[in-house]
């Protein structure tokens, strides 16, 4: 029945089943020799490649490089985007000034700017950070603005009648009330930053997961490409889980019976 709850163990079983089916189909295709190994290597080949990549090809260095880049670009976007979004959501003047501009740029694909960034910044670290920044900043700012706009006016008015000043209302009401929404926005945009990172590294880099995938393609190491993709996915999941854990830790009041 639509929307009806199902027992937890049934839910878990279904989730595991989807992965099991994927693995089964993959094994059937590869071990059954329906697909040549150049296109799709068998699962055991992937596992062996993963071991080689970690042991001999310095995959850990690639992971660290990628994570550092994405973190730098993302932190820069958040450091500017969160305060700006809060201001835009609270002060109509700020909204009127920035919103049309950001709304315009957000529809320009960040990947299309890569050639321009390479022209301006070369192919060093700053270019990659710029791509990630560009890919997340505008969306992040607009999403934080929406979160802040949703803070109830009655809540703010209540604070005024309790003696809070116009400036104090940011720290005492608007920020704490928007915090859960902001953390959620960060979680979602970090996911996007991660995909832009790969784009930036595939185009021009000398290290990182995207670079490793690109190199593997040049040498027809299909298994290495797949290992790279799986690692990217796993790190993405790990970050998502981290943010969800943080959410629970930061906002104990939300877990307990809702928002009001």
């Amino acid at each position: 029945m639509p929307k009806e709850a199902i027992p937890a163990h049934v839910y878990a079983l279904c989730s595991v089943l989807s992965f099991a089916l994927l693995l089964l189909g993959w094994s059937a295709l590869t071990y059954g020799k329906y697909v040549p190994p150049l296109f799709l290597p068998a699962p055991d080949e992937i596992v062996r490649s993963a071991v080689t990549l970690f042991a001999e090809f310095g995959l850990v260095t690639d992971i660290i490089d990628s994570v550092l880049r994405v973190t730098a670009g993302f932190l820069l976007a958040a450091a500017i985007g969160v305060p700006l979004g809060v201001l835009m959501g609270s002060l109509k003047v700020c909204e009127a000034f920035f919103e049309p501009f950001l709304g315009f740029i957000r529809y320009m694909p960040a990947s299309a700017f890569i050639p321009l960034f390479i022209l301006w910044l070369g192919i060093g670290e700053s270019e990659k950070v710029a791509v990630i920044f560009f890919g997340t900043f505008f969306q992040l700012t607009l999403m934080v603005m929406d979160v802040t706009k949703n803070v109830s006016m009655d809540l703010i008015n209540t604070a005024y009648t309790l003696g809070v000043s116009q400036r104090g209302v940011f720290r005492r009401v608007i920020l704490p009330a928007s915090m859960p929404g902001i953390v959620d926005t960060l979680r979602i945009t970090f996911g996007w930053a991660w995909t832009y990172l790969v784009v930036a590294e595939i185009v021009a880099a000398s290290s990182g997961l995207g670079y490793m995938i690109m190199q593997s393609q040049r040498f027809l190491k299909t298994a290495h490409i797949i290992v790279g993709i799986i690692v990217i996915g796993l790190i993405g999941i790990a970050i998502d889980v981290f943010f969800k854990w943080l959410y629970g830790r930061l906002f104990p009041w939300l877990g307990k019976g809702g928002t009001a």
Binding site: L155, N157, T158, T161, L162, R172, W253, K256, A260
Partner: protein, 271 residues
Amino acid sequence: MAAKLLVESVSKVFGDGGRAVTALENTDFTVGESEFITILGPSGCGKSTILKIIAGLTEPSSGRVTLDGRAISGPGRDRGMVFQTYTLFPWLTVTENIEFGLEVAGRPKAERREVADHYIAKIGLRGFESAYPGQLSGGMKQRVAIARALANDPQVLLMDEPFGALDAQTRTVMQELLLGVWEESHKTILFVTHDVEEAVFMGDTVYVMTARPGRIKARIAVPLPRPRSYDIKVSDVFLGIKKEILALIREESWKAANSLELMGDGDEKDV
């Protein structure tokens, strides 16, 4: 009774040009020290607007409001307010919510705790000190909101349909609880409601407002003894006042209904 709060020919127009809405027109009334007044009127007649003007959250288009002889020019802790919507800060516990105003004022922790404990006992929420608002029922939330406003020790308490969202039984309990708290502190209270029985039961004076644009249509004294308990709701005096007010309101409702018809049909506007 000395005049505490003076509302003098206050008008409020929202918007401008063709879409201007006159919410309040020449509203006048006086509230005495320690008086409990209730403001009764149909929805949309400007009850919330008048409270917000007194709170300093909205500027009047004309007229003025004075508290203890000083003109009001913005919100301040001398005028506490309780809203109809739930406005507890969800990230603060019950105790922290009640302490909020004192904390803003920079009062020492020990004093804050003492005040909060006092009010928690009074509103019957012992054991819920460290609960978050999300864990409370609607009635409990409004009790905390009242305690939070009172903990700040305001000169005037403004209450905008504070029990409007509660079920009938809870509302009855809350009315008696509020009167109990009031008996002790005798704050000056302006209590807005659209429930006739509530207005008469709570108030020393009931102001009945006209439909939009709002004005004070009648001032009705409620000479019922205090402390009041639920039995007076069936007393002759109570029923007499209720009947009088219902007659006034019926008049207003007719006017409101007719004016809606006129608004819907532009051709007949000049008739």
